[in-house]
Amino acid sequence: MLSVKNIVKQYATHRALDDVSLEIEQGKIFGLLGPNGAGKTSLIRIITQITAPDSGEVIFNGQRLNSDHISQIGYLPEERGLYKKMEIGEQVMYLAKLKGLSTAEATKRIKYWFERLEMGSWWNKKVEDLSKGMQQKVQFVATVLHQPELIILDEPFSGFDPVNADIIKNEILELNKQGCTFIFSTHRMESVEELCDQIALIHKSKKILDGSVEDIRHQYRNNTFWLEYQGDYNTSQATELFHVLQTDEHKGLTRIKVQLQNGTTANQLLSALLPHVAIHRLDEVIPTMNDIFIEKVKQTN
């Protein structure tokens, strides 16, 4: 639904985005990852039409991105806030009307969302009387209220307590089920694995990795396994098959992390050990997004 094609964005002396292309599919949750200052926010600002690219283009549902699309995009920026002196209801209403909703429609939807997120009594409260977590709920509602097709969340969970973070996460999944596409910018990798279908990793203004989370993680497997067994086995006699990365012993159980030599399979590992020990568990170590992230960023440095 969204294609970013060869975007270049140059600030005076600093190139924020260098020939970045992305493809975001309808109904997916897309993770936009990268260290601080990589260019994530610059890219998001181009998609939300806050700034324009120097070259390249963005295609939204087959059309070149234009101001008609503003009402179909919801954006929760990392730097987010509300008017302190305004009442909550009034404020969400204002933001909804700026997105093109009528007063009647906005009222209906605000009531629905306030009810749903247990904010019913907040309508007449002023923002300054709310805690930070409560404010973020309000901001989330304001982001999704106009039923955008594409919702862009920049670090949505920062500042949330675990309970509220969970509520918001479930709302994201629910909206996703209804067909919303998400772009999710973060450097908290555990939430990426939990939520994202696809990711792109941006580093130093360039895209250095993209694809589905599943594929990437499998691609980055390096034949490493956790093995748990009972009994004695001298691992040094099998160095042509694997080498040991880590060893733990606990109540007679031995847990080792091994990396197989090239060409060796897990079956060969098992057959080598089976005559000597009782195997309790064998797990392949699939690298976490965190590991991949760190590895990739280090590589390009």
Binding site: T51, A52, I73, L76, E79, G81, Y83, Y94, L98
Partner: protein, 443 residues
């Protein structure tokens, strides 16, 4: 367009609903009306000060006549010596002692004014005038002028200033009335531009520090947000201005009636009417203060509609001109304390225009300085308002208004280019160099 309206609505309502706005709007007319009422009360009642009772100790033998008492000064010649009366000043009921030593009439020296409190400058100069007149009269008499000729010499001069219109017709005007209007409108214009321009800046900073700016500009263009804010606050200013006029007028009417009473009001109005009817022609011995009623009359003769129209134009124009600059400043900083270095260059021309307008322009409303100040957009809102009551040629007014329009389109354009970049910059210390760079950014 619809979005700008929504922004204007929010900016307007959120300010008008504030307690501080309501208090300011209600309190100011009461204060103005209060001052106005007191001033009228004193001018109608003729009370311009307290009556000073002055004991005169005269040791002078050349002065043959006594100082005549006036409304505010009662001279009582006492027989005691200076020493005696000095010691009993507190019990005697006199406010001051005037000591006239035995001086030669050609060289009056050693006159003293003594009192338990220091005599004010106005009083001592009045007494000095009285003595000078006394001596002058005595000298004139000595040269052989009779008392009745002397009385005839006393004339009170009141200049009737009139302006000749292009048609050759005389128009009543009064330098006094024009000056009053010039001052009031100059001060109001300065106050308004400052007050509301700074409000625009605060509003922009508030959006930045609240971090709502990025939420906003994902729905609206920075230009819409800036213009919505500027126009919304302008409407707040106009609302306050109109309420002030209406409230001040109605409160002062009520206050005047309460202070002065119906009868005297009518007298004063009748006096003015009589004077107006008999104009031009014979001198009118109007009741009350002729200068005061002259000003009143001229006030009604000034082109009030024109002045108000031009005021509203220059208020909006000058406000747009400056508030756009204030918006640019607000966008470049993170908090209000950082605004200082940028405020100075923006405020200087306005302050400069204000001071020069109230000093130079009121004295010489047709001079070259007055002309330039009133056509250059940086100073024209104030200078033109100050010049207007004295009469300004239409082509100059048109030129000034035209330049004002070009001026504010220019500043709005420049400011919007700085604003769109500045609002997204956090934690970066802005400088003028930086702002010029932002201005040059493509989009």
């Amino acid at each position: 367009m619809n979005k700008i309206l929504l922004i204007i609505q929010r900016e307007y309502l959120s300010r008008v609903k504030k307690k501080s706005f309501i208090v300011m709007t209600l309190l100011t007319p009461i204060i103005i009306a209060g001052f106005y009422g007191i001033a009228i009360y004193f001018s109608v009642q003729g009370i311009t000060g307290t009556v000073n009772k002055i004991a005169v100790v005269n040791e002078n033998k050349t002065l043959t006549t006594q100082l005549p008492s006036t409304k505010n000064r009662t001279y009582v010649y006492v027989p005691q010596s200076l020493k005696e009366i000095k010691s009993s000043i507190n019990k005697s009921g006199y406010d001051y002692i005037l000591y006239l030593p035995d001086f030669s009439i050609d060289d009056p020296k050693g006159i003293q004014l003594l009192g338990s409190k220091q005599a004010g400058l106005a009083l001592s100069s009045k007494i000095s005038d009285d003595i000078e007149e006394l001596i002058r009269n005595q000298k004139l008499k000595a040269s052989g002028i009779a008392q009745k000729d002397l009385d005839k010499l006393k004339t009170s001069v009141e200049i009737d200033t009139k302006k000749i219109a292009d048609t050759g017709k005389e128009e009543d005007s009064s330098a006094g009335a024009s000056t009053i209007i010039a001052y009031v409108s100059g001060i109001l214009m300065f106050m308004f531009i400052m007050l509301y321009g700074v409000q625009v800046m605060r509003g922009v900073i508030e959006e930045k520090t609240n971090r709502i700016i990025e939420v906003m500009i994902s729905s609206v263009k920075p230009f819409q947000l800036m213009m919505g804010k500027i126009i919304g606050i302008a409407l707040v200013g106009l609302t306050q201005f109109i309420l002030w006029i209406v409230l001040t007028a109605s409160i002062s009417t009520v206050a005047m009636k309460a202070f002065v009473g119906d009868k005297e009001m009518k007298q004063s109005i009748q006096a003015t009417e009589v004077q107006t009817k008999n104009m031009p022609g014979a001198k009118v011995a109007a009741a009350g203060n002729p200068a005061f009623s002259n000003i009143q009359k001229s006030l009604t003769n000034l082109p009030v509609t024109k002045i108000i129209t031009v005021f509203v134009f220059f208020f909006i124009g000058g406000y747009l001109f400056y508030s756009a600059l204030y918006a640019a400043i607000g966008s470049a900083v993170d908090n209000e304390t950082e605004t200082q270095q940028f405020m100075m260059p923006v405020m200087m021309p306005l302050l400069f225009g204000y001071i020069l307008s109230l000093s130079v322009v009121t004295n010489d409303p047709y001079g070259p300085l007055a002309f330039w100040l009133s056509v250059i957009p940086f100073t024209s809102p104030i200078a033109m308002m100050v010049r207007l009551p004295y009469g300004v040629p239409d082509w100059q007014l048109a030129l000034s208004m035209g330049l004002m329009i070009i001026g504010f389109i220019g500043t709005v354009w420049i400011a919007s280019r700085i604003y769109r970049v500045g609002i997204l910059m956090y934690g970066k210390k802005a400088s003028f160099k930086e702002m010029i760079k932002w201005f040059a950014y493509k989009n």
